[in-house]
Structure formats: structure tokens, C-alpha cells
């Protein structure tokens, strides 16, 4: 049955580990974040500190929104504003041993969810693509 195929699995089994995840650091300026996003091609990435604790997410849209002034795009703000002034701090988090159903519930509204350990250190990300790959495989059996 369908419930059996995803059941009893955990977030850890679908994890993209931290060493594979593009991110920026607290203290980075917006121009650096814009460069990382443009070059990696990702639309949103995690913001960590030097000890790999998770602080939020930053996206292209958040950066653009911050520099879109009333009369013109205020590009100089890219060099004066830091990621922490613009990032989304209110983000869902998962633990490695969380049930997969909890993870799927979150990715309905989030393209990816950050995974941390019990002390708040970044372990990696849980993405829509990994879940859809498995669903696609199961539907074609």
C-alpha cells in the first residue's frame, strides 16, 4: 500500500549533506550573496555562522526587494547591507530522525527544509526533488 512505501522512513534517508549545500555566512554583504546565488543557480540558500549553526534563508527575491527603491534600483545597498538584515529567520527545521511524513508535510509549502542536529548545527537539506524522485520511481514499478 502507498502508506507502506514511504512509511517508517526518516528524513536522514533523503538528506543532501551539508558539504554539498551552497550557503552564505552571517556578516556577508548582499553583493556576495547575490554572486553565490547567481553562480550556483539556486534561488534560495541557507545562512550559517562560522560554527555551522543555522540562522535563516536568503533568496534572490529578498535581495531584490531590499534594493528596489521607489524611483530606481538602489544597487549601492548591495555593498552596505548584510545578509542578516534581509534573510528569513522564521524557517521550519527538521531533525535527522524525524519521520518522513513530517518532512513531506513541510515541503508542500517549502521547496527545501534545513535539517539540524539537536544542538542546532546544520546537517544538510531535505528537498522536494529527492521525494519526487522516489514517488516517480514507485509509480513506474
Amino acid at each position: 500500500l502507498e502508506n507502506k512505501k514511504f512509511a517508517k522512513m526518516t528524513v536522514a534517508q533523503f538528506l543532501i549533506p551539508s558539504d554539498k549545500v551552497a550557503h552564505v555566512q552571517l556578516g556577508n554583504y548582499l553583493d556576495h550573496a547575490l554572486l553565490v546565488l547567481t553562480k550556483t543557480g539556486y534561488s534560495a540558500i541557507p545562512v550559517l555562522d562560522t560554527s555551522y549553526k543555522l540562522h535563516g534563508l536568503i533568496s534572490m527575491t529578498m535581495i531584490m526587494d531590499a534594493i528596489l527603491g521607489l524611483e530606481r534600483i538602489e544597487f549601492e545597498r548591495l555593498e552596505t547591507m548584510k545578509v542578516e538584515e534581509v534573510m528569513n529567520k522564521d524557517i521550519p527545521r527538521l531533525l535527522l530522525d524525524d519521520d518522513i511524513v513530517k518532512g513531506i508535510g513541510l515541503i508542500v509549502n517549502h521547496p527545501f527544509v534545513c535539517v539540524e542536529n539537536k544542538d542546532g548545527y546544520f546537517e544538510g537539506i531535505f528537498t522536494r526533488r529527492e521525494i519526487l524522485k522516489r514517488l516517480n520511481k514507485q509509480l513506474r514499478k
Copy 2:
């Protein structure tokens, strides 16, 4: 069984219709596309012509890539370049009566896929969120 729950469904049953889809037009300049993307909050949207034929997709990343020069961000290009010079024309397409399994196969690698009718006119989009909503609901029964 799992295959029965998604089986025999078509793309049409998950469609977000064209009147709900943010898009830009052929001939628009990049600054207009950047504004639409920033204000709607979407990271990529379709490019249509005046008769609602589908021509490609444009994203924040494609625009940024086009204006990121070697020495500085060449913001003036936002007013001189058009969406057709930057958009991705090589995109998958679905038809309304395509099997859902074909759609799921495509959204493994694409956050959304444009749906058109047999004459190439834009009908709407097929998104990851709509499929994940249903999967989430089924897993919780």
C-alpha cells in the same frame, strides 16, 4: 495500492489555470521582468506572446547572469535587453490530457511545467506543490 491513487489521473486535474499564472510578454525589457518576479515573489515564470502562445521561461538567475559583468553588475543592460535574449526556450511541455505519471516524471527536475493545448496555446502550469499536497494527504489517511 500506491499506483492506483495517482493512476488514471491527468495533468488537467492538477492544473493552475493561465489566468492565475504570472507571466511576461515577448518584447518586455529585463527591468520589467525583474519587477514582476520581485513583486510576485516567483523565481521563474513563463514568457508568452500577445496571442498567449508559450515561448519560454525567465528566472531571476537568468537575468542576473546576463547583467553580471567581469568588473561590475551592468545594471544598464536591464533597460536595453529583452526577455527573449535571456529566457530558456528549451523547456518541457505537457498537454491537459497527459497522464499524471508523465507530469510527475518531469517535475522531478522542474519545479513547474507549462501546459499547452494542441495548437501551442498556454493553458496553465503543473507544479510540484499540487502533487506534494496530494501525496501528503494520502500518506496521512
